[in-house]
């Protein structure tokens, strides 16, 4: 890639969300807006290598996209309702200079971005479509990058995006920030998409392709944007706090050979203090806004307990148990129960934890979940019941799909076996 192309790529990353958001407001059609923005990018790729990158590249791209829209409007006689609207707005703005245009756009950019987020995460779309569209329109990711990140063929992602844009258009989804009773549900859809992107990256940090862990950064960026644009939503800050604190441990989670290192065994000196502080600040903000009991804020509060502990021994497990109690009440799930059982075992001893884990063994949702036998094995080891622990680790190893994790579990199985012979 030449220097100019690299610069264009950078400008596109910076400008494309606002460009698409601004165009979507004018045209009322996200798909059309993205096409126009792409056309402007193509024009830049043709022109800038000769002319250099203009002084205000964002305004240049916007002006070009708008001219393109005018051309389309004039050429097409079979004008749709939407195109008529573009025509009106564009005619009115044609006389404006580029800097005026930029200023006019500037006023609304925050609102437009927020509208774009809500639209890309609209419930009329499947979860997969929401994710792809959000990363494409707001994260500035290419189709290829999204495909690699989710380990699916590029054509699948391209198809998903085309279909999503068509669905939005056909359902006449208005380009707006929802108000009233709808708002909470729509906001949690946006938060759900961002968290899904984050988790996809988080669970892939041992992967070979750097694009996958980079999803954590993409999600954080999206979350930070959302927090700036809707500063009074406690759950937004709760989610950002959760992600910042989780991300603070990314570098401590794997050893030199890529092997996973469990939370309590991690070198806390490797935790990223800058992200921890940002995460704690976001959590504090969520709590100030009265959102301490939101599902994301509760999860953030749990990870914050770990982040605050200088050593594993200093962890406030009793507080973690209380937070899991609240979370289980709010969003009951066997996974939350399993986590709660671990916290109970740390706070009140392995025997109590084992009782809770045993109660989960008949849970259908956990039947093929490797962490259930893995946790059970750990608790049995702590109770000195090595003979019972070994088959649990073996079972867990057979269930995980992550090869690094499997190695770790098999090693624990070997330790359990050594424990058996040691006891004899």
């Amino acid at each position: 890639m030449s220097d100019v192309n690299r610069a264009i790529d950078a400008v596109w990353r910076i400008e494309s969300p606002r460009l698409i958001a601004g165009l979507a407001r004018i045209t009322g059609d996200v798909g059309l807006a993205e096409d126009l923005a792409q056309d402007a990018l193509v024009a830049a790729l043709e022109r800038w290598p000769q002319t250099g990158v203009p002084d205000n590249p964002g305004a240049w791209l916007m002006a070009t996209a708008k001219h393109r829209a005018i051309d389309m409007h004039r050429r097409s006689k079979r004008i749709e309702r939407k195109h008529e609207q573009i025509g009106h707005e564009l005619d009115a703005q044609q006389e404006m200079s580029v800097s005026d245009l930029d200023a006019a756009l500037d006023d609304d950019i925050g609102d437009d971005l927020l509208r774009l987020m809500f639209t890309a995460c609209h419930p009329v779309l499947s979860q997969e479509a929401r994710v792809a569209l959000t990363l494409r329109l707001l994260g500035g990711l290419t189709t290829d990058e999204i495909a690699r990140a989710f380990v699916v063929p590029e054509a699948t992602v391209a198809q998903r995006i085309v279909r999503a844009k068509r669905t939005l258009s056909e359902a006449r989804v208005p380009f707006e920030v929802p108000r009233g009773s709808d708002r909470d549900a729509r906001l949690s859809s946006v938060l759900g998409v961002i968290y899904l992107v984050f988790n996809e990256g988080y669970s892939a940090t041992a992967g070979e392709d750097w694009v996958r862990p980079a999803l954590c950064e993409d999600a954080l960026r999206l979350g930070r944007i959302l927090a700036e644009l809707s500063p009074n939503e406690p759950e937004v800050h709760g989610l950002v706090g959760l992600m910042e604190i989780q991300a603070s441990r990314l570098r401590a989670r794997t050893g030199p050979k890529g092997e996973p290192i469990l939370l309590l065994d991690q070198d806390r000196g490797k935790w990223d203090q800058l992200l921890i502080r940002r995460g704690l600040a976001a959590l504090a903000r969520a709590e100030q806004l009265g959102g301490a009991r939101g599902p994301y804020a509760l999860q953030a509060a749990i990870v914050a307990c770990h982040a605050r502990a200088r050593t594993a021994d200093e962890t406030d497990w009793e507080r973690i148990v209380a937070l899991y109690d609240a979370l289980a009440e709010l969003t009951p799930s066997p996974i939350v129960e399993l986590n709660r059982a671990v916290a109970v075992s740390m706070a009140y001893g392995p025997a109590l934890g084992l009782e809770l884990v045993d109660a989960l063994r008949s849970e259908p949702a956990l039947r093929s979940y490797h962490l259930l036998p893995s946790v059970r094995g750990d608790l049995l080891m702590k109770l000195g019941r090595h003979g019972e622990a070994k088959p649990e680790f073996d079972h867990a190893a057979s269930l995980t799909r992550n090869s690094r994790e499997r190695e770790l579990l098999l090693e624990r199985s070997r330790k359990a076996a050594a424990g058996i012979s040691g006891a004899q």
Binding site: D9, A10, I14, G140, R221, R224, L274
Partner: protein
């Protein structure tokens, strides 16, 4: 990728920045925060309040109080940003320098692990803090 941009204004003045300048910088920082890339930023006080500490080859220290004479090398402020590429960091630095009205920035990719601790704040608080700092300098 995380970058630190280190700003060297090229001259150290004691004249306070104008209200317009303060407002323009505040707006720029706010936009940076709104685009989700800003991790932290701050301006530094006049070098007359600072010092240089050097460890000599013989194991002794040499402490030099500010102000530092070679004004071109004096650091005026810094920002930590999380972006996709060096090109993106450079593009944002160009925009910053235009608002700053001159000077030079060093754009450096950070290691995975920041070597120091930062104070806690949300992005908007960073913007506020930077603005407060500018104002504080203006009234000094």
């Amino acid at each position: 990728m995380r970058f630190m941009t280190i700003y060297k204004p090229g001259e150290e003045t004691t004249t306070p920045p104008t209200q317009e300048h303060i407002a323009a910088m505040g707006k720029f920082i706010e936009e940076l925060a709104k685009s989700g890339v800003l991790i932290q930023t701050d301006g530094l006080q006049h070098s007359s309040k600072g010092a240089r500490v050097r460890l000599n080859a013989d194991g002794t220290f040499k402490i030099t109080d500010g102000p530092f004479t070679e004004a071109k090398e004096v650091i005026g402020g810094y920002a930590i940003i999380d972006v996709k590429s060096k090109a993106e960091a450079i593009e944002l630095t160009k925009r910053f320098l235009k608002v700053a009205g001159g000077g030079e920035s060093e754009v450096r990719e950070m290691h995975d692990q920041p070597a120091y601790d930062a104070r806690s704040a949300s992005p908007s608080q960073f913007a506020d803090a930077a603005q407060a700092r500018l104002q504080q300098e203006a009234t000094r």
